[in-house]
């Protein structure tokens, strides 16, 4: 699904160079649920942004689903994000001026899709996150947990192969966080690959695999298989360090 080889990211401003990622090798297989942990400023978001084609890499190679990401132009990256990747953000990133229905519609509108199909997908996605009755509401009328569910519905509506979440529970209390986590696990069970950045060790422990990033490098690949009844087990020896 996702394979990074000796990948580097350097931010250059006129004063300093920041080596946000230093030659990292990461391999995530189809269907995995990976948690990315690490201290603040270690490069987790940078990794996720590159994985999600939001930023370009400055060295190494990134293959996404067999496509060399560095060979894509801006339009192709937009299209790929739209069709293959779903994003969940720490601060939900719902559009405040659009109601829930229209918010979920946003990524679908960037595809050539009939109104009927879009509606079907939106209804389906809202049902999956249990907010079907709220589609005329505006984001400000929902709780944080509900807003994050809407954001998840927005990510799901496009049926992405890969779901990227940057601290999806960072702005939620532990009860709501658990709800969101359960939803993600449920989505993963149905086959979507998930990479989630989190600070919460408890949540990280629930993922099948942890990638620990420190100072732009992968320092620790958690090899311990976690037994979880209904989760397909990943091959212990697939990840590359």
């Amino acid at each position: 699904m996702l394979k990074m080889t000796r990948l580097e990211k350097v931010y250059r401003t006129h004063l300093i160079e920041t080596h946000a990622l230093r030659s990292i090798d990461i391999h995530v297989r189809e269907g995995e649920f990976v948690a990315v942990t690490g201290p603040s400023g270690s490069g987790k978001t940078t990794f996720l942004n590159i994985a999600g084609l939001l930023e370009t890499l400055t060295g190494g190679q990134y293959m996404l689903d067999g496509v060399d990401a560095s060979k894509l132009d801006d339009n192709a990256r937009s299209k790929l994000r739209n069709e293959k990747i779903g994003f969940i953000f720490q601060s939900f990133n719902l559009i405040p001026d659009l109601n829930i229905f229209d918010n979920i519609d946003v990524p679908l509108r960037y595809r050539r899709m009939s109104a009927a199909e879009r509606k079907g997908r939106i209804d389906g996605a809202l049902a999956r996150v249990g907010l079907a009755s709220r589609m005329k509401h505006y984001p400000s009328e929902l709780s944080g947990g509900q807003q994050q569910r809407v954001a998840i519905a927005r990510a799901l509506a496009g049926s992405p192969r890969l779901l990227l979440a940057d601290e999806p529970t960072g702005n939620l209390d532990s009860l709501m966080a658990r709800g969101v986590m359960e939803l993600l696990e449920e989505i993963n069970r149905q086959g979507t690959t998930i990479i989630m950045v989190t600070h919460d060790p408890e949540l990280a422990a629930r993922a099948q695999r942890n990638i620990h990033i420190m100072d732009g490098q992968v320092t620790d690949l958690d090899e311990q298989p976690r037994l979880r009844s209904s989760t397909p087990m990943p091959d212990k020896n697939t990840h590359v360090a």
Partner: protein
């Protein structure tokens, strides 16, 4: 296109959008009417007098000392002959007035001696047999005056001679269904005057709105004005206007210095002076229009820029969710289109209202309908152009903003 959601989002940002729509409406209403007025003025200013304006100049002469009629006649004859003999001069005549000077004589024209209300008003140009050649006016029917037909008209003389030449408009007004040639009309007193020739086009001396219905209704009267002061109309040979003007003045002084030449003016100067007010009005209105358009454009740029800044995170999120740069530009353009369209609908109503008010309160004609769509298209293009720079800036918001900003 995502008109539906854009419209919904706009409804939640009503104030800014409505202010811009209102500005668009006012601008449209004003520029439609102003452009209409400007164009009418320009058409008004551009009307031809019918004479060879490029080569004609007018000399105003005043004799020192009040001579007898006989003396003045002889002085006039000498002056005219002297001018005609100048190498750069094509022809000369003396007259009471020329077009666009806003001074002259007019008379009511009647078909019978005792007609109560005149059929039309007409300007009287007192001329000699050189007038047609000097003004370079085309005779379309009949003949020019013969030298022996020209009489002297002293200050106390009244009544008109037996014959005259009239403009086509004159002929058409008096005899709409038949040829005016050889027909008699009554202008001054009870004596008929026969139309012996018809010329193509000659504007009356006045340009005000009171001559609106008879701007080209003029008669050439075969009389030489005998006065202490007189006006000589001179046509220079092509390309010799300036030299002829100088030579004429010098020569006139050299044959008789007992005179005051109050002015030697090329016709272009007379035209410029006649329409100075109209030109100033057209320029002023153009400035107002330009200023309004610029202010509206700046308003659009301002609001759009504000929105781009305000929506940075939203734009980044849209980019992350798959919007291309083009999609982002389209979003702002569509949004601007919606706002402008609301403004245009409002503006058309306002434009018609403003025009009706102007028609009722001032001497103004009804707005020609196509000024409305023309103005609307102008504003629409202006809006799209104005929103483009901020829209481009929006499109350059990096998708990483979605994860990088709080």
């Amino acid at each position: 296109m995502e008109i539906g959601p854009i419209f919904s989002a706009l409804r939640r940002n009503k104030v800014g959008a409505l202010l811009i729509a209102l500005q668009v409406a006012l601008t449209l209403a004003i520029i439609c009417n102003a452009l209409f007025i400007i164009n009418e003025r320009l058409a008004f200013i551009a009307r031809p007098t019918g004479i060879d304006e490029g080569n004609i100049f007018v000399i105003k002469n005043l004799w020192v000392g009040r001579g007898t009629d006989a003396q003045n006649t002889s002085l006039l004859q000498t002056d005219l002959q002297t001018l005609r003999d100048l190498p750069g001069v094509a022809d000369v005549y003396s007259t009471n007035t020329v077009p666009l000077t806003n001074g002259g004589w007019s008379d009511g024209v009647n078909l019978t001696a005792d007609q109560e209300h005149s059929t039309t008003q007409a300007a009287n140009y007192f001329v000699d047999e050189h007038a047609l050649n000097t003004m370079d006016i085309k005779l379309v029917a009949g003949r020019n005056f013969k030298p022996e037909e020209i009489t002297d008209r002293a200050e106390r003389d009244s009544g008109l001679p037996d014959s005259m030449i009239v403009t086509q408009e004159f002929a058409q007004k008096m005899f709409p269904t038949e040829s005016a040639l050889g027909k008699a009309v009554y202008m001054e007193g009870k004596k008929p005057t026969t139309i012996i020739g018809i010329i193509e086009n000659l504007q009356v001396p006045w340009v005000g709105s009171w001559v609106k219905t008879w701007g080209y209704t003029a008669a050439l009267i075969p009389q030489r004005m005998i006065r202490q002061n007189s006006a000589y109309v001179v046509r220079a040979k092509p390309g010799q206007l300036q030299t002829a003007m100088k030579a004429a003045e010098t020569k006139l002084f050299s044959i008789n210095p007992l005179r005051v030449i109050s002015s030697v003016k090329p016709f272009s100067e007379i035209r410029a002076k006649a329409y100075r007010g109209d030109r100033a009005m057209a320029i002023l209105l153009s400035i107002v229009c330009s200023a309004l358009l610029i202010i509206t454009a700046l308003g659009i740029v301002g609001l759009a820029s504000f929105w781009v800044t305000q929506r940075r995170k939203q734009i980044g999120t849209r980019r992350a969710l798959g919007a291309t740069r083009r999609n982002i530009v389209n979003y702002f353009q569509t949004e601007n289109l919606l706002i402008t369209l609301v403004g245009i609908v409002l503006g058309i109503v306002l434009a018609v209202g403003l025009n009706l008010w102007l028609v009722n309160n001032f001497e103004l004609t009804r707005l020609t309908w196509w000024y409305l769509p023309m103005g609307a298209v102008m504003i629409l293009l202006l809006g799209q152009a104005a929103v483009l720079p901020p829209a481009r800036r929006a499109a350059s918001v990096p998708p990483a903003v979605a994860t990088r900003s709080a």
